[in-house]
């Protein structure tokens, strides 16, 4: 299988503060990958650097065999990346408009179909579709963010904690969405997430610690590492 996203020796941070200190990862096309890491490990920073919201100070990011390290964010998105940030909404636009923007590159008809699909997963969004996204509850915003991320037809979907703040029922829904896109469109998934349920769909796991990848392997491998098992699965 071909490598879709290839990050080598990546360094970045905020001003003088270095957060990532040499991150390496290779994500193969069509895989579902989950990124683990304690709070403050640099997960958000890594994702932001990949989409270009933070400039890499060193290293290289290749996507679909192109070097995208120096590209502007919108150019990277155009190449087929869909990114869901932690607070991924346009507060002053309605939910419908938010979703339409998720499919910014697509034609209108396709947009409508996708939107319908998402409304079926998350009925609340249909109910409030003319409401300003800024008035939604925390969890509803997450639903909107997830739905938006799947509005276009990207090669890879990158999500920052899609399930945090969602009620268990909707965590399941999100997993369903991810699965169905993964199965149907072979969309590659790269998800920073702590919720154990996501590990069920993870074909590969990375653990980020202190700005470095400290573990790389399957869920089974992860479980066999005692320290990591305790940290991410709990003692029970």
């Amino acid at each position: 299988m071909s490598v879709l996203l290839n990050v080598t020796d990546l360094e970045s941070g905020y001003g003088l503060v270095k957060v990532l200190v040499g991150v390496n990862l290779k994500i193969e096309s069509g895989k579902s990958v989950v990124l683990l890491g304690v709070n403050g490990a640099g997960k958000t920073t890594l994702l932001k650097t990949i989409v270009g919201l933070i400039k890499a100070t060193k290293g290289k990011i290749e996507f679909d065999s192109d070097d995208i390290t120096k590209l502007k964010p919108n150019k990277r998105i155009e190449k087929g990346i869909s990114y869901m940030s932690e607070l991924a909404i346009f507060p002053n636009l309605t939910i419908e408009e938010n979703l339409e923007l998720g499919g910014y590159f697509k034609d209108k008809g396709e947009n409508k179909k996708r939107m319908e699909l998402m409304f079926n997963y998350f009925p609340d969004l249909r109910k409030f579709k003319n409401k300003m996204a800024g008035s939604l509850s925390g969890g509803q915003r997450k639903m909107l963010g997830v739905a938006k991320a799947f509005m276009s037809n990207p090669k890879i979907v990158i999500m920052d904690e899609p399930s945090s703040g969602l009620s268990p029922k909707f965590v399941k829904k999100v997993i369903e969405v991810v699965k169905s896109f993964h199965d149907e469109y072979k969309t590659t998934m790269f998800i920073a997430e702590q919720n154990v349920s996501f590990l069920d769909i993870a074909e590969e796991v990375y653990v980020l610690d202190m700005g470095k990848i400290t573990f790389e392997g399957s869920v089974t491998d992860l479980k066999s590492n005692e320290r990591l098992r305790e940290a991410y699965f709990g003692v029970a």
């Binding site: 964010p73 919108n74 998105i77 940030s85 002053n92 636009l93 923007l101 998720g102 910014y104 800024g134």
Partner: protein
Amino acid sequence: MLSYALIGGIMYGLYFGLVGMGLNLIFGVMRMINLAHGDFIMLGAFLTYWLYYLFGFNPLIVIPISIVVFLVFGFLMYYVFVPKLLHSKDPEMLSFILFFGVSQVIEAIIILFFGNNQISVPSTIFAKLFNVSTFTLFGNTFPISWLVVSVACIVAFVLIYVYFFYTKLGYATRAIMANRHEALVSGIDVNKVSAIAFGVGIAAASLAGVMGFFMIGAAFPSMGTDLTTISFTIIVLGALGNPLGTVIGGLIYGVAIMLMQTYFSSWTNVLPYLLLIFVILIKPEGLLGKAVRNV
């Protein structure tokens, strides 16, 4: 007298909607306070004046010229100033001083090159063109130039409306207004789209300058400050960041001014401001504004 003030006020108000339009677009999209807004109106007026005296161009011909010139100018100006500003801690406030500087420079250059003179084009220019000097509406007679200006304003509003709500570009523009960062990662070329919006804002201001002679009289290099102040009033009356609101704000302003001139002429100036304070205290987000939750 009442009907004259009302109808006249609506026409006057349409014009002031145009006066405020560009400022609001730029504020809405970039969160920048363009203190030089009035100076761009002034530039539009000077361009009209010179094209009229050098080549005898009718203001109607100047309209497309000024739109193109200032669209390009605004577009380039965006790249010089805005990205840098956006990197600062408080872009909104910094824009306030930056554009104060810009306004000083514009005014100074105009004075250096053209002197500090009051200029105007003959108010009868449209009367000559169309061979009628006045027109009558519900029994009230108005100068023909008012009709021309009103029509031009309405056309401008329709175009801006279409651009804003019915084109992909406008769509992207509104997304940037809503959340710049998020727009960036939705694949929108934020800088280009903003630069166009900036250009449109400046062009709208210049258009108000082209039409200015027929509604507010002569133009002069230092006229900008007052116009900027009035524009602020108008856009807040409607709602910051909402171009439709600006039209409403302009209409309220126009009608109010005309009514005051009719019944309490010496208090004319104070009214728009009292109106603004009143509106803003009962509905802080402006007449068309919407509140957004922050907890």
